[in-house]
Symmetry: C2
Subunit: 371 residues, 2 copies
């Protein structure tokens, strides 16, 4: 397992990403095709590839771009989309997903990437990597297309768990802000709590409690708390980090995907319904292609598990080569920026501030630089 | 108040709709413009128009289409978008919204329509009209664009309340199915519970409980229960009635609206970015206009309050004439079909079946025809 990570190579130490090749809807061929795109983009990337050695060996040997950059790690078994997380927690050893996470736990790779079963991936990540000190509930954070200058915002939790209390929401805000600082290069991200209205009296009790604590935490947390935001704000330029529980986040994400698909389908139908509309489509081809690129959901593929002693990127199960490459790019950027260490320092600092506040002391100012 | 409802008119008895002219974002002029469109469509429609008599009198007198079909009902005060529901419940008397609901309570109008503050409208509707027997929590139901043959499905609760237990979800299913039968002309609507996954073990406890009860209720309720559905299913052809709590429903609705707006904005930007794309837009004008009409959210304007002794339609606050006319069309259709009586019969029947099931007796078969 050493040839990708040995310091003897002439180039700088490679950035090693651990890849679960199995378990995605399109199988290992799509994953390997994605790695080819990634290898062409990042000269210093290397992969630990987990799954059936024979099958993967054939796929990798056909790709010159991957020569010398892939270490195969054989795993006999595969976690399917139908396996229940609780079963995978008990019997997951020997699967490519387990092996993929294990490489991060051992320090052989910086970040793990999988297209597999989300619930199982979170369950295995939890028992193998464990929570960061001070975190009750890890969360999945995703980029969401918006009118912000970067084109995206960060939203969490997208479905790691189905609930979140006020403590969890405050921790999500801290982690989401850290992710936005590192992933979107924002100095002081604007954080909002997702609610059914922007007025103070609206919504559930845990949201009101979290709101009060975020107002108090924004200085030491180095973010700007902008208050409650609504579903219609998610795509605007008014907020950078949207905090919600995993039930609501999952419904919002999938609803948004569904609406985007419906609109794209209707547009396609209208541009193919007659000979005249087909001619119009031909004339407008360049414009339509640019439009399609801008709303392509594959650009933003990759949910990040936050709150663990290790970074795990969950790719969409149906990701093709472009989608896999986007998830790997995200993993590479997070590894390169030392994101995990920054996040851990932020969480520790916010945790300390919370304890200080609880003890009615002044904030300790124990901030950890630009984490 | 009699000239719109007197039986002396030569035509059939008019369908009287009670309209709150104030409180919408665009003011009474947009409401009156919407009524003009409605009056042109429905020869037997008449209006009770609540608000400032002087202001409304001027607007109405300019419109020949409204001659003899509008009865002005003066109301001194207006509920604003910033008023809290609890305050409006205490001090709402004398507002145009109160007066609008009062006309339905007295039986002077069949259905009430308002573009005003949703929370206040629900609060006033609750205290003036009261719940239908057997209903714990009223709900707001909306049409949602989908790939279904009708082009829509029904979703509820869209934000009447922020929570719903298993009892509420089962009642929402019964009411939503009745609304789909009457509003979408479906014989046996397919009902689904919105969840974060379709597997049985997924989601919150109240969803699992509601699921078991809906499986048992589907025969007497005259709907087909299709199981858990996800956010991505809302826009598909796989379900007709989507049941969820008002917090999740509101977030899903506004997220969908936000995504649709973002996509429309990007499309507009791409078709105006250069002289070439403007030429392409000119060539594709007919196709783009058809596309725009198909995704126009104003077509589906109007949330219906279900579970009260009276029908109230909530129009979008920012509705223009087209939007107001869509909400009035919905009100007209519900009045014409005797929807309220059918819904009440369904609720009573489901309530009876629930009591029978609770008493471990066989279902009573006390079904009320095609309600």
């Amino acid at each position: 397992m050493a040839n990708g990570t040995t310091p003897e190579t002439k180039a700088a130490t490679p950035v090693v990403i651990s890849i679960d090749a199995m378990g995605g809807d399109r199988g290992p061929a799509a994953v390997v095709a994605g790695l080819v795109l990634s290898a062409e983009t990042f000269p210093d990337i290397a992969f630990l590839l987990h799954g059936n050695e024979v099958e993967l060996g054939k796929l990798v040997s056909r790709e010159p771009a991957l020569r010398g950059r892939v270490t195969l790690c054989h795993a006999e078994r595969v976690v399917t989309m139908h396996d229940k997380p609780a079963q995978v927690m008990r019997n997951g050893e020997g699967t490519s997903m387990w092996s993929c996470i294990e490489s991060v736990k051992r320090g052989d790779a910086a970040v793990a990437v999988s297209c597999g079963n989300t619930g199982a991936l979170m369950a295995l990540s939890l028992i193998r990597l464990r929570r960061l000190p001070g975190i009750n509930r890890p969360a999945i954070a995703s980029f969401w297309p918006s009118r912000n200058p970067t084109g995206f915002n960060v939203m969490l939790d997208m479905g790691a768990d189905i609930k979140a209390d006020a403590d969890d929401l405050v921790q999500f805000a801290t982690m989401g802000a850290s992710y936005a600082r590192n992933g979107l290069k924002l100095t002081r991200p604007r954080v909002g709590l997702l609610n059914v209205g922007t007025e103070e009296h609206k919504g559930r009790a845990e949201l009101k409690e979290a709101q009060e604590r975020l107002i108090a935490l924004q200085e030491v947390g180095d973010f700007e708390y902008v208050g409650f935001v609504e579903g219609s704000d998610i795509t605007t330029a008014s907020v950078d980090v949207i905090v919600t529980d995993g039930f609501t986040g999952n419904i919002a994400l999938k609803t948004g995907e569904g609406v985007a698909k419906l609109i794209a389908d209707v547009l396609r139908e209208e541009f193919t319904r007659s000979i005249w509309s087909k001619i119009a489509a031909a004339v407008a081809m360049g414009t339509l292609k640019r439009f399609q690129r801008r709303i392509d959901p594959r650009r933003a593929n990759g949910g990040v598990f936050l709150g663990l002693n290790g970074t795990v990127v969950k790719s969409h199960g149906s990701a093709d080569a472009t989608g896999v490459a986007a998830a790997v790019r995200l993993a590479y950027q997070l590894a390169k920026s030392g994101f995990l260490e920054r996040l851990a320092a932020r969480v520790a600092s916010a945790d300390q501030a919370g304890q200080d506040a609880a003890a009615r002391a002044a904030p300790s100012g124990a901030e950890g630089g630009t984490t």
